[in-house]
Symmetry: C2
Subunit: 431 residues, 2 copies
Amino acid sequence: MTQTDFTHDASATSWVEGAVGHPDFPVQNLPLGVFSVGDSPPRGGIAIGDYILDLPAVAMLMEDPAEDAALTANAPVLNALFAGGRATITALRQAVFGLLTDESNRAKVEPHLHRAADCKLHLPFFIHDYTDFYTGIHHAMNIGSLFRPDNPLLPNYKYVPIGYHGRSSSIRASGVDVKRPTGQTKPAEDGGMPGFGPSTRLDYELEMAIWVGQGNELGEPISIGDAEQHIAGISILNDWSARDLQAWEYQPLGPFLAKNFHSSVSPWVVTMDALVPFRTAQMPRPEGDPAPLPYLLDEGDQAHGAFGITMEVLITTPKMREAGDAPHRLSRGPMTAMYWTAAQLLAHHTVGGCNLQPGDLLGTGTLTSGEEGGEGSLIELTEGGKKNITLPNGETRKFLENGDEVIMTAYAEKDGFARIGLGECRATIKG
Amino acid sequence: MTQTDFTHDASATSWVEGAVGHPDFPVQNLPLGVFSVGDSPPRGGIAIGDYILDLPAVAMLMEDPAEDAALTANAPVLNALFAGGRATITALRQAVFGLLTDESNRAKVEPHLHRAADCKLHLPFFIHDYTDFYTGIHHAMNIGSLFRPDNPLLPNYKYVPIGYHGRSSSIRASGVDVKRPTGQTKPAEDGGMPGFGPSTRLDYELEMAIWVGQGNELGEPISIGDAEQHIAGISILNDWSARDLQAWEYQPLGPFLAKNFHSSVSPWVVTMDALVPFRTAQMPRPEGDPAPLPYLLDEGDQAHGAFGITMEVLITTPKMREAGDAPHRLSRGPMTAMYWTAAQLLAHHTVGGCNLQPGDLLGTGTLTSGEEGGEGSLIELTEGGKKNITLPNGETRKFLENGDEVIMTAYAEKDGFARIGLGECRATIKG
């Protein structure tokens, strides 16, 4: 958990084939997830190169507390494992690092490695509650300009980490198709009848998923200084949005059917330990912005609370896949485009007494970088559907068509450290 | 499930002491809940008079499917029982009715009756997702006038059953104290700093809880005609609200910390079967209001979809309790004050593909009757905190003080039928 954590050593190598130099999952990463092979029950695993290590199967090769942790991973979700707290995850990660770097373990461990291509990946947690924040200030400005041209950024934005409760039941792991939602849309004229039918303005939203590890009791807030200890890790979140439904329904209580038909999340939980080398200073507040209120203020958090991670959105259309074209990148931007840090989100969420539980999912909100090419949604790229995007094969898009596949990726790079990645969050639109 | 259901016979009597003429729980009601006695594990029970029948303990006195249902109630929550569908609940209810009315069963059944006063009541379901609607049009008008004087009822209100996702983790059964939340409040002047501290405008909201029985698959909406079959039953919900936090945080994505610190729900699930005699016509739409869109329109639902139930809110203060004063009634009004029926709420919630699951909780929103004395919240009774309420002992209130206890009750009365009640939802404010 410090800069001297031996798992961050860029020169460390794993004996697992293809792990060295793997763009996402070298031995310096070791993200946790839930996998199954064939008809076997889903259970906890760790990604290493193009393989998945079966955690419960290698438990007896470790010592407590790592052994106990690996046995706790013998479950269809990782809630109990992460409820054990950060020290447990650290012990497990360091033990696995040892197994995968020391050649002498190879004979015992190798039988418990599965090719990722042969596995099915599941949601890593049972998600009781899902909260979506709105930390991307550039996104908030862009969306605000479309929905409220005269008043894009509301007066509370720079004080309150704005968030709302989302729908847990419709969250699915990467790879599950997304059915285009149906609903009401704004009447064409004042006093006319609303429209009704499949959404014609279906969009993605590029977000980071923050997973809660240890929770808190009802009525007992988590302080900003303690908040990091309650974070299990991060993944990529695509909070699909039906913009036409949203525009009609969202006042006064926020988005509902525009969001609750599906959310997709990448299956690997990249741990806070793996991310230590890539923590960086919070986005500087623009000149004249107020300082965070005391319950959101922490020197260490302001200095190191952000994630130095690059995110990307890519698309393939049915025609592109037929022609064998590579996915086309729609945007790329830094995860530091957050007005609030993850710790600030936890501190705010609980300050009134609300209890978080292990496996709760906090979305950051759409992360738009503020620079050309860093838009985190189509509604921003197409200026509210007024402008076409032209793909390399000449096809155009304003919003998503049936058959389109959206692929989100994220990775961290820094001199002196091995690059690590979050993997992919991908899904295809069905009519 | 029809008017000839023998469990609705007003002349039926139970051998259980005090059950005949019980204001809430005569044998014609038989609501389900989860109880425990001393250190025994929580399990399913049925309220009869001032007693609770231990369902698993009497399972062997019934025949399938009732026996199987009673065994399924041998669990800390009733999700699995209600997931079995309405026919299962009907069979169980009718078998229990037989046990409790036929004197010949007394010797075998009586040992499995526990005095309610000796029992602890728990949340009846594991609540994965909680949705709160806004069906009380009088409440919407009143609140709208306070938050948006120029625009109280937004143009979507009469087309879209407005709702938003709430927080599941902080829902507690009746009787659990409510800790006053802390949070940010609106700056006193434009450009000033927000306030921060314990809420000074803490309020209750009188709502009905609609419990989901059988769910639906993601992407497969529930039609308005089928919706009633997916409802397990109803309870009373108090959706506590911090009005000062709400006013500052709620735009643009809806209420968050203003609501997520606690919600209280009464422990007894009054089944759809018990409610059959009290179903009534939907509130007539005011002249000139649009008809519901086709996916929300069903002749049977418009004719019988509402609940002929009266709800009440009472308060006691520490001084009143010290003096032995009776609770003071703050309001009374009909549950028919809903612009949308329960079936319309389910049809709307799922029309975009969102999946409901057994035990999901749908709140109706605050039910204000539209007549003097029928206000469902203090912010309405005190006109936004401008006016005092004077209690019988001379104390005054604008919002809730520490030590105040709020008690909500509800009951259904109709000529030719036994009165039934929902029991109580009560909780005390702690500082």
